[in-house]
Subunit: 462 residues, 2 copies
């Protein structure tokens, strides 16, 4: 349809003419996210500066029935920020202020556009700690993290975004501003709108302010890289570690294909027989970390590890994490298209899942690279293929079907942290029943009766 001039002028009046655009070259930049192959042009991109502006934009959009798509940095993995039905992208790059860090009460109040790694640094400089750390933390925003309920490696000990959001400010599709939750450690007055909005993928309300719970910064961190000659040995070691009374803050794993991709970025030579690696990280006070490191080292030795390396300084640890975090983008070395699924299975089922992925790989003839948050049973499976080859694309789709079927069969879920967005919409009914979906859709209608907020996401008929 395109955007009519009158509406565009109105948007300019609301935010100032420098902060709205409909130039094609700008629109293209906001047409996609990190889920390849799902580009849709918006009609305009608006850069609001305040909650009031967001509210006014929503009132206008409702009146004109224009879709509005809130967007952080567009690093989402399921097309959640893509303007499927056109409309206005609300880009939060200007609402990127840390408004308050309360040292006495261990809270931070932030705008949604704050980059997660900036938040990490700001609170750590003050001796505090915000645990959730998605691999994209250098680019992704806290607003996007709230929208998706982002996790990351440290979730195994510290939980996910949901566990750190105490309260929200948000704008409803009608333009009304709501305030949910508390700024205290506890609070149970009324229904939990806070956690309903967290993870709702920008489909219920536009988050404009976030109050986060913080922890004291752990005094000491130890990072270990442990190699195995067999993926299933690594998987069994993960289950075993979790049965110790030690909970590492991270239990990541990389399979053989992942190791091949990142081996040049490691600061040490991998043993020749290495087919899997675990990255383990422990934190706490110095004495505890020392004792637990030794305990884990012994356990890994008993579990037939080929090689156990403890990072000698923060630089070595950082290099290891940089290699791990580079994995997702570096996958394109293998093929020009990837389907990245973030399945979760009970941790005891990781060996079964690993075997299953092997068999899907053999059957499809495609390379499947898997790595991820093994301590949570959260495996990032990347099915790589040539997008110009229709038969490979078909095989990839079949591989996803098999992967999800196996995941659910093992008692798992189709998404641990990426959300449903656009790319998993067709699979939602595999996991969530009709009655439950019906409730969810009616809740959507409570917040957004005219379906203007991020339409065409999560539910196939939205």
């Amino acid at each position: 349809m395109g955007m009519d001039d009158k509406v565009y002028r109105h948007l300019e009046n609301l935010v100032g003419s420098g902060f709205v655009t409909r130039k094609k070259e700008d629109l293209v930049c906001y047409s996609y996210d990190a889920a390849p192959g799902n580009a849709f042009l918006p009609d305009a991109v608006v850069f609001p500066k305040s909650e009031t502006q967001v509210s006014e934009i929503m009132r206008l959009a409702l009146k004109k029935r224009i879709p509005v798509i809130p967007r952080g940095s567009g690093s989402g993995m399921t097309g959640g920020a893509v303007p499927v039905q056109g409309g206005v992208v609300l880009a939060f790059s200007r609402m990127n202020h840390i408004l308050d860090i309360d040292l006495d009460n261990f809270t931070a109040t932030v705008e949604p556009g704050v980059i997660v790694s900036h938040l990490h640094k700001a609170v750590e400089d003050l001796g505090l700690f915000y645990p959730p750390d998605p691999a994209s933390s250098d680019v992704c925003t806290i607003g996007g993290n709230v929208g998706e309920c982002a996790g990351g490696p440290r979730a195994v000990k510290y939980g996910v975004t949901r566990d750190y959001v105490l309260g929200l400010r948000a704008v409803l599709p009608c333009g009304d501003v709501i305030s949910t939750g508390v700024s205290t450690a506890k609070g149970v007055a009324g229904y939990d709108l806070t956690r309903l909005i967290v993870g709702s993928e920008g489909t219920l309300a536009v988050v404009t302010g976030i109050t986060l719970r913080l922890l004291p910064r752990p005094a000491c961190v130890a990072t270990l890289a442990v190699c195995f000659d067999d993926m299933e040995k690594a998987a069994r070691t993960v289950s075993g570690i979790m049965r110790q009374a030690v909970i590492p803050r991270c239990v990541e794993y990389l399979d053989e294909a992942s190791l091949f991709l990142v081996k040049d970025r490691l600061q040490f030579a991998l043993p020749k027989q290495a087919k899997a690696m675990l990255i383990l990280e422990l934190d706490g006070d110095e004495i505890t970390v020392k004792a637990q490191t030794e305990q884990i080292r012994q356990f890994c030795t008993q579990s037939f590890a080929l090689d156990i390396r403890v990072a000698k300084d923060p630089g070595q640890a950082a290099a290891l994490w940089e290699a791990r975090k580079a994995l997702s983008p570096v996958l394109y070395k293998i093929a020009n298209q990837k389907i990245n699924e973030d399945i979760v299975v009970p941790i005891s089922k990781i060996p079964d899942m690993v075997a299953c992925i092997k068999s899907i790989q053999a059957e499809s003839g495609l390379t499947i690279v898997s790595f991820g948050h093994a301590g949570d049973g959260n495996i990032h499976c990347n099915i790589m293929y040539d997008k110009t080859d229709a038969s490979q694309a078909k095989q990839a789709k079949k591989a996803v079907d098999r992967l999800f079927a196996a995941t659910l069969e093992l008692g798992g879920t189709i998404t641990g942290e990426h959300g449903v967005g656009l790319t998993k919409m067709a699979y939602l009914s595999w996991e969530i029943g009709r009655v439950e979906q019906d409730i969810m859709k009616k809740i959507k209608a409570v917040f957004d009766p005219f379906r203007i907020l991020n339409p065409g996401k999560i539910f196939p008929d939205s």
Copy 2:
């Protein structure tokens, strides 16, 4: 209205004639909970054995438009389980089985009628740990804990019930059974119905099954009792402790009136000048707990503690906790009526709140006993009065008004763990705005369009 015979016979057919009653003497037992002065007779009490029975009861109740009130042990503090509009009380005492404890995946699957302390023992015997521990844990049920999002002393380190519920099975008012959440560590498919139902006080759906996340049992626990000659010194010490990089699993406090009530139950003589006590508990592996105990001991000494005692064995620690947990019932020694409010303020505001409670006490002429989870800023304020004295009752009501006004003024909430129920309904609008309440009421209508589930709770016009 009373219950017509046909409906009663139908209920008998559904659950068996021994498992439904309408004898006056039985009904009286299910007419009240732990919030004094709020008794309402139900028309019948039903003891279902299975989810299927619950579903059939709900279908019947919907057809006949009969209120249904789910009930655990009736230890709730806000009249949440009281049948305000009569109807059928669903008592879960027969659905009290621990169905599964999964040692590999750190989960438990339980029926709602399981007593929380039974769950604690069962998982601890297997080397696992379920942290939430409301003071009523020897009587209260896990279903009630889910309904209220119960907390308890250990919430300061481990969080509340919400943080341990991975998934639910529940029966909707129409009788349909839903399954929410996951049985894995993570999961974000669709809206978070799990946390919407947790803390919804039995007004959205009847919970029939709960999957809980467990932790490894901490190897070692240290319990300290620390006395001060001044309540505000104790309050400042709490803020100070939380700023250390040590998070005790419990930071409880007792004021002078509380100490007077429990001093005979302590296994040591209180210093004469003692006007406040902190109970601090640390857990973890042995080395850590030892080091942290010393750190806390030093900090308390610097904070002018009169007396610091470390429990020498589990028996001494248990005696201390028994004294603390006896506080709520023993209050009736002071007066025949109490109003127990579980306000929360930011921890840095505890000294202000303590001063404010003192001034409310002076103004009202009533005894106010306060104790609670200071590490969360969650203070249980008990306003004691003679219920036969109308002027005292009026003063008590005025004291509650002032208490809530001051709490909200300090950035707090009117309820940290007891819920709104019946007794805080008139205050809900003091904390939650019109727009937010409107959304909540529409969500209630999505689940329960005919308002048959626990009517007359949370929202003044429900």
